[in-house]
Amino acid sequence: MLARPRQVSSDHEEPRSGLRLRAMIYVLYSIVFVICVYTGRHYWFTLNRLFGFQRHPYIDIDTADWPPVTVLVAAHNEERVMANILDALMTVKYPADKMLVIPVNDRSTDRTREIIDKFVEDFPGHIQPFHRVGGKSGKAAALKDAMELVNTEVILIFDADYIPGAGLIKQLVAPFFDLEVGGVMGRVVPMNVNTNLLTRLLDLERSGGYQVDQQARMNLRLVPQHGGTVAGVRLSALREIGGWNENSLTEDTDLTYRLLLNGWKTVYQNRSECYEEVPEVWPVRIKQIMRWAKGHNQAMVTYGFRLLLGKHRATLRERIDGTLLLGVYAMAPITLIGWALALAVFYQGVAPLHGVIAVLSLTAYAALGNLAAFFEIAAAARLDGTRKRVALLPFLILGFAVSIFSVSRAAISQLSDLVTGAEFHWDKTERFRKVL
């Protein structure tokens, strides 16, 4: 039931309330405009993937004088998964004398160290362990410390829950023959899809994110994002940008933007696929997305202004796309504010035209904004050749609802941390695989 527009009681209140109302409406217009920009971006990416020219410039490099490569495996209490990735890495098709695996055991208190040491014994000369017992928490800090063992120009990075295929190392190394390339990112494919509704929804989300979003950015020469796993970085580029940033909450986003600002290209390879494990319970998923949101927002504050307006070699389209990419997690609280404003403006009793526009703004977002993301995921499912999993699309509203509130909560907590000076606590993503 809708309330009647409130009558203005006196001449003195009118200017003040009118001003406030007008301010609310203009803020709402701005929010709707930004939402429309993101909606258009979703459609542009999806249509590009469905009908546009597809760029896979390095994927067919099969025969080459392969360079020496170091594979870093970030691990913190990974006894459930460590053996799987080391097993996989020991059977990849890459010249054995040119590949060194460094498991970065970051202060593990479980059997991770024991498992790594067993592999070192079984494969002498191929694995050099890095057991870290102290120092700052977090993946970036661990990788930074491990760099003392790295002396190859090409570095690949995997999280411990990933299972690389035999040809993946060559595929990820190949783009580094191009001297402009500073970073490489492969595609992440969930392997524990069948577990429950959450894993199935995450499978769809990953599909949309990689199959459409990342590849479209690659096609359009925008800003493919370095994901920090199934990924590579050039040592000279890393040195030029100042190494791993241990103060960053998401070292991958941080790396993407520092590479971009220093003129290095990041390449996305959609066909370089690697299995990963996605969270199987909502609390773990919420923690994961909150950490991503905080890291992304941190990068937005650090690099946003410089990327858009600073003096560097990024193209105009890279500046615009990079800025929009930095803002994706800020959109959750902004959208919530937009919803609240739309309702507030309506119940404030605005002039009919404004009321209509306010309601239209809300419905336009509900219809276009959400639909664009759904369209993207449905298109990704089609490109992947899957069929019936796309029927789960309506349930994604549940995933979006959880995300929008979790990401907004992360933003609020980040602001309060700024005020109180609290330090970020690194939450490791829990694993669910059964120990072999």
Partner: protein, 109 residues
Amino acid sequence: MNPLLAVAVLVCTVSLLLMLPLLPALVELRRKSDALPLSVVQQNAGEIRHFAHSFRDYIKGLEPIMQSCVAAGTSATGTLPDGEEYVVLGRLDEPLVRALAQRAQPTRW
């Protein structure tokens, strides 16, 4: 109509309408008919010689027949272990080769 009944009917109808798009989703969630991980080529991703190697392995059993056909300039037909039929042609001027070559000519529309 009783106002309470009208409200109940309205609520039920709206709920049913809202549930409608969820029906295929609920069926898929229960049946799990498409719930396997996407197929990732773990062994031969990006290896362009893989097709050649695997085809060579596939027709390995035909090697003696191919050699004898080439030597004698004859042709042979048969079935592979997986049930696929094959034709081995020992000469390029076999009628069958000519027919295939003609079929391969570009067609003008």
